[in-house]
Symmetry: C2
Subunit: 132 residues, 2 copies
Amino acid sequence: MRLTHLADYAVVMMTAAARREPGERLSATILSEETGVPLPTAQKLMQSLGRAGLLTGQRGAGGGYLLARPVSEISLADIVEAVEGPIALTQCSEGASDCALDAHCKVKPHMGLVGEKVRGALGAVSLKELSQ
Amino acid sequence: MRLTHLADYAVVMMTAAARREPGERLSATILSEETGVPLPTAQKLMQSLGRAGLLTGQRGAGGGYLLARPVSEISLADIVEAVEGPIALTQCSEGASDCALDAHCKVKPHMGLVGEKVRGALGAVSLKELSQ
DNA sequence: CGCCAATCGGAACGATATGGTCCGATTTAA
DNA sequence: TTAAATCGGACCATATCGTTCCGATTGGCG
């Protein structure tokens, strides 16, 4: 039940971005310096965040990233899922069930529900709160 | 935000144990056969669960394990923590802070709170519910 | 029109820790 | 006293995570 390092870094970077003026262009370089996250890693993370629709990238000289949504409409769950993939306690909670115990597993139906609760806890925390 | 395989197995085994008669001696062999978890792995898990105080072990021939508490007083959080260690989103939430970003990390104070919420969600689910 | 700045995407490497297995120590029953 | 059956800890293979680097693409600027 831990966040991966990458997800943790992503949260730190997003909060750093949230503290900036809305509309300001943010490069991976700047956020890297501000947060202490190594530049190559920061680049990779912003790619993931962009693919997930949390950031919009602007290419070319003077380009950079922008928050795709207001800070109050981005949740901790969004950030985590952008980096780690869907939040689910077990992989059988979502499609693929290549689990050896799948045949006579009597816990499976409960896990989906519990996962929802956890996701709810993370979804209730907005980037706005985290950046303060 | 996923459970490790071992934690998942532990939950399956504990629910299997919960479905048995209270007071019945449970060997690792039996639970292994019943759940499909490989025997050596099952042994290792029951050790962890014993150390955590969820199971009490009885050595010698005809020995076995017993649930240390009633099923309604064992939560999903207890099982997960027995195998994975304390539930916390980041390692800085608990003592050791050998994190490169620790110096100017402005998110740290929030993480402890969020971790509590997640733990609450898992703590609200009892073994009694899971075993049904 | 050509150059430069900065992002995007993928591939490859190394480290950590998970997952699985084995063997020794201990205890009770016969 | 013997022996079977269990708990308990140590060990090794493996997979995923984390990190880094490089090339391709795009848009602004001189």
